[in-house]
């Protein structure tokens, strides 16, 4: 927070450190996209810059929302998102073999994106309403499972495994922090071990293949193992200092597929090397740490759980994507927020950041005398 007589108070009271950090990540993304297009603002960098600017503005304006307003909107937004997800199932736009979008004229809306912050707020709100003594009772659990399970299943059948995993992880994080008993979290891990082979049978062909090639990437070097193999080549060949800006052969010669979306990190690591990659990871870590601090300093239980859940959402975005492109996790289609080309992830992360800023402003106005 900057205090100065010159800068008007509303501006001075913005969390500038966070905004600059986010802007830096976004700028890095634009620079990478400029290179990925072969040294051109089109088709990605310019559009991404505009999207980024619009959503950053929205996030900043969201920071003036009151906690009570957020709380009041939580259930209606959750309900609306759920309805949209059902709508997608019924009349969704079919693209890339999956039903993910609602075609609303000029805008293609992907309702599952809204579900990430929505599930966090909803569960935070739910557990705020549950008295402390009731938290480990069954009646404090099943509504939470229902609130999480229904949208998760709707997203899974779209099918969008990446988003489904994200939504479940965000919800589970909030439930974990709310104090649900340990076994609730330990049991599913054990169950997954047992159920994995069975679930595997029900997966879609392409999902199954992704898992196969993840477990044994060499089995299909020219097919679905190609993405991971080429991504590892891009990152590995970059070395410590990288091949130099605009000199990444893997991305420029199209060996790296999706070098501007899901695999944008590999594009960056190839040209900027280990140094650039680590700097980016640190920048994300700072953002997440800031969100976690908001949660630690929160006065209300809703703010505590919501802030932690929202920062966890950003964390899951970043970590799943990076594990994916470095070959530590199967390719599930999670973009790197703020860097990957595309509006959805930018929108979701900016919504989370806007909410976090609002919660942070609330703490300051509640605690300080200003």
């Amino acid at each position: 927070m900057i205090t100065s007589a010159i800068i008007p108070r509303p501006l001075a009271r913005l969390p500038w450190r966070l905004i600059l950090l986010v802007a830096a990540i976004g700028l890095a993304g634009l620079i990478v996209l400029y290179s990925a297009a072969g040294g051109s603002m089109r088709p990605w960098a310019l559009k991404q810059g505009m999207i980024f600017f619009v959503f950053l503005s929205i996030a900043i304006s969201m920071s003036w929302m009151k906690e009570s307003t957020i709380k009041a909107l939580t259930f209606p937004v959750y309900g609306a998102t759920l309805v949209m997800l059902i709508g997608v199932e019924m009349l969704g736009f079919v693209g890339k073999g999956a039903q993910r979008w609602l075609d609303l004229g000029p805008i293609r809306l992907q309702p599952s994106e809204f579900m990430k912050p929505a599930i966090v707020l909803t569960l935070a709100r739910f557990y705020e309403l549950v008295p402390a003594g009731e938290i480990r009772r069954w009646r404090a659990m099943w509504p939470a499972f229902a609130l999480l399970g229904v949208p998760a299943i709707l997203i899974l059948v779209q099918p969008d495994l990446g988003t489904c995993i994200m939504v479940v992880l965000c919800g589970v994080t909030v439930m974990f922090l709310a104090g649900l008993p340990w076994w609730i979290f330990a049991a599913p891990v054990a169950a997954v071990g047992v159920a994995a082979p069975i679930v595997y049978q029900f997966l879609h062909g392409y999902q199954r293949k992704r898992i196969d090639t993840f477990l044994d990437p060499e089995s299909d070097p020219l097919g679905s193992g190609y993405h991971i193999a080429q991504s590892k080549i891009a990152i590995g060949s970059g070395g410590i200092w990288g091949k130099g800006y605009l000199h990444g052969s893997q991305s420029h010669l199209d060996y790296l597929p999706e070098g501007h979306t899901d695999f944008v990190f590999a594009t960056m690591a190839e040209e900027w090397g280990l140094v650039g990659a680590v700097l980016l990871i640190f920048a994300f870590a700072m953002v997440i740490r800031w969100g976690m601090k908001v949660s630690m300093n929160a006065k209300t239980r809703f703010a505590q759980l919501a802030a932690a859940g929202l920062s966890a959402a950003i964390f899951f975005y970043v970590s799943i994507n990076l594990m994916m492109v470095t070959g530590m996790a199967p390719v599930v289609g999670v973009p790197l927020p703020l860097v990957s080309y595309g509006g959805s992830a930018v929108m979701t992360v900016m919504l989370c950041l806007g909410l976090l800023m609002a919660l942070e402003r609330q703490q300051r106005s509640g605690s300080s005398l200003q």
Partner: protein, 628 residues
């Protein structure tokens, strides 16, 4: 489940603890990611850099030019001729555009070719070119070249194809080249060079045995390409290195002359330099045209060659085995001398000899002959009779020592060396004792005796020089000192004199005197029975006639060259083989006289070798064409 009472303080404590855990887990994941990127970028950097470079840079291979084969005077025997070819680089093809029909039209490809190109394109990967056509005409090449901008992926290049100026005359000596087959590809550990269209390897003869020298190392154009195979830019090309030139001891002129002199006959001729063992001619006729093979032989031509009863596909020098006939007699005589037979010893020839219960009949009634006359007149009775009083083991050993049945170290793949039988050999091979009739058969070069045409030249060369010459085909290299023949020089002189008399005295080959002043040829005729027929000599049926052989050296007094020759089913040695040897020998001393002798003969046969070959193929093709 037992309900647990929890207070707000309790809840706050749980939250802090779990936040700490969550934060720790996040930090751990962050550390793990940094570690992973560090591992890929630092520890495995080299590996991935290589992989990325392999992605980026592709090589359009350029096969090396094959080394030349030249004769002892530097005249070309196998060279490379510019040829034009059209290939397709599959990765540079635009997927939406089918260039094959267009090429088929430009190059006048037939349906089989089009189908082959399509199949190879479907199977192809990377930058390995797929051959569309080779040896296209300049006009076709030009037609494709001007359309190249509209035909992405098509490559029209000037290549090189093997060319043998002497055609069939050198066919069996040099062999031919051809595209590698699957077996050859596997044998070379799947050397990718062998898959380059237009790349040929030696298939036969010297082309095969000298492959390591002739091949060279490939180069190529290095290009930077995208994942979709679009060419981004050309990098520095990798230069190729052409194969080495190999110089042979062969005299190209003699080789060609002897091949032409054989006319339509089937036979082999080997000429040697008596001072060094250098092989001057290595002729096996009739032969195929190796140029047809290097361009991929047509079905019709192949059929013609394989149906010919003169077996043009057989290398008769290295693989033909024949009874030596009387050409064995000089060596036999030397063996007799060595065992103490007096050269003045006379044997009466009443026209044959009874051995056991069989009567062996001689060609004529020679009367009383000594060794000199026996060789000169080729009297079998003398050799039968003398063979019976000498040790057959020692005798045959001597003949073998002089070359018959012996193995020579030559860069000719798959040679057959024949047999020089001896009592020991007979026991080992057929488990029976040596009999008098074995001596008789062997001493006139029949029975088990089988020699190749190479040995027919080595034996007179050794007799003439008195040195244990080893035939050589490659110039250069270390020349080993040549050991003398283990025989009394006086004995050798007796043999040489007798051989000189064969041609210049009143012997069997007087008709084949050299038409030169001051140069006399010494020789020995041979007639080898093909079937045990009562009546010998000329037969109506070509392949029942006797083989004609002749061995010779010249000049008789100061030997310089030796020649061995066999004409299959040529009748008497003197009638078919000796004149060919005479003219070939003349060539070595006086080229003009030799060519003058050949001219009327070729006119009589109906043109030069090349002309007759072309006519024969055309006639065969016309006969093979289905009648409309």
């Amino acid at each position: 489940m037992k309900p647990i009472r929890l207070t707000n303080t309790h809840q706050s404590l749980t939250f802090s603890r779990r936040m700490l855990l969550l934060g720790g887990a996040q930090a751990a994941v962050g550390g793990l990611l940094i570690g992973r990127v560090g591992w890929l970028a630092v520890a495995q950097n080299e590996k991935y850099q290589l992989l990325s470079e392999n992605n980026r840079v592709q090589l359009i291979p350029v096969p090396p030019r094959r080394g030349w084969i030249i004769d002892r005077n530097g005249k070309p025997i196998a060279i490379n001729r510019a040829s034009f070819r059209v290939d397709i680089i599959p990765q540079q093809l635009e997927k939406t555009r089918d260039v094959v029909p267009e090429l088929a039209q430009l190059l006048a490809l037939n349906e089989d070719d089009v189908e082959r190109v399509r199949r190879e394109l479907a199977e192809s990967r990377g930058f390995k070119p797929v051959q569309v056509a080779e040896n296209v005409t300049y006009d076709q090449y030009a037609a494709v070249t001007v359309r190249l901008p509209e035909l992405p992926g098509v490559q029209a290049t000037r290549g090189f194809s093997r060319f043998y100026p002497d055609g069939p005359a050198v066919a069996h000596l040099v062999g031919y080249v051809g595209s590698a087959n699957a077996k050859e590809y596997d044998a070379e550990d799947k050397n990718p060079l062998l898959l380059i269209p237009g790349f040929k390897i030696g298939k036969q003869g010297l082309e095969k045995s000298l492959e390591p020298y002739l091949r060279g190392t490939p180069g190529g154009q290095r290009v930077e390409v995208t994942a979709r195979g679009k060419l981004v830019k050309e990098l520095d090309p990798k230069p190729d290195r052409s194969g080495q030139t190999v110089q042979l001891t062969i005299d190209e002129g003699l080789q060609q002359y002897a091949a032409r002199r054989m006319g339509d006959q089937s036979g082999a001729l080997v000429a040697m330099d008596v001072t060094s063992g250098d092989m001057l001619a290595f002729v096996s006729m009739p032969a195929f045209d190796p140029n047809s093979f290097s361009e991929g032989i047509g079905r019709t031509e192949w059929k013609m060659l394989s149906q010919d009863d003169h077996i043009p596909l057989l290398n008769k020098v290295a693989q033909g085995l024949y009874p030596s006939g009387s050409t064995i007699k000089p060596a036999m005589a030397l063996a007799f001398l060595k065992q103490g037979v007096d050269p003045k010893r006379r044997v009466h020839c009443p026209g044959g000899l009874r051995i056991g219960n069989r009567f062996f009949s001689c060609d004529a009634v020679h009367g009383s002959v000594d060794m000199h006359q026996a060789i000169e007149k080729s009297c079998n009775t003398y050799f039968w009779a003398t063979g019976l009083i000498t040790d057959p083991e020692q005798t045959t050993e001597m003949v073998n020592y002089l070359g018959y049945g012996q193995e020579f170290d030559l860069p000719i793949p798959s040679q057959r060396f024949g047999t020089m039988p001896s009592p020991k050999w007979l026991m080992k091979k057929y488990k029976r004792e040596w009999q008098g009739y074995d001596s008789a058969n062997t001493s006139i070069g029949q029975g088990y005796v089988l020699v190749n045409p190479l040995q027919l030249a080595v034996m007179p060369a050794r007799l003439a020089s008195g040195k244990l010459l080893q035939p050589r085909l490659l110039m250069g290299g270390r020349r080993k000192p040549i050991a003398p023949v283990d025989a009394d020089p006086e004995h050798l002189e007796i043999i040489r004199k007798a051989m000189a008399a064969v041609v210049n005295g009143s012997g069997t080959a007087v008709a084949s005197k050299l038409p030169l002043d001051g140069v006399q040829m010494a020789g020995k005729t041979g007639t080898a029975q093909v079937y045990r027929l009562i009546s010998r000599g000329h037969q109506g049926n070509w392949n029942l006639r006797d083989h004609a052989l002749f061995i010779a050296f010249a000049p008789a007094d100061k030997p310089r060259y030796a020649i061995g020759c066999i004409i299959e089913h040529g009748g008497f040695g003197a009638s078919a083989a000796a004149p060919i040897v005479r003219d070939s020998m003349t060539y070595l001393f006086d080229k003009q006289k030799a060519w003058a002798a050949l001219e009327p003969l070729e006119k009589q046969w109906g043109g030069s070798l090349a002309e007759r070959n072309a006519r024969q193929l055309a006639a065969f093709k016309a006969a093979a064409r289905p009648t409309a």
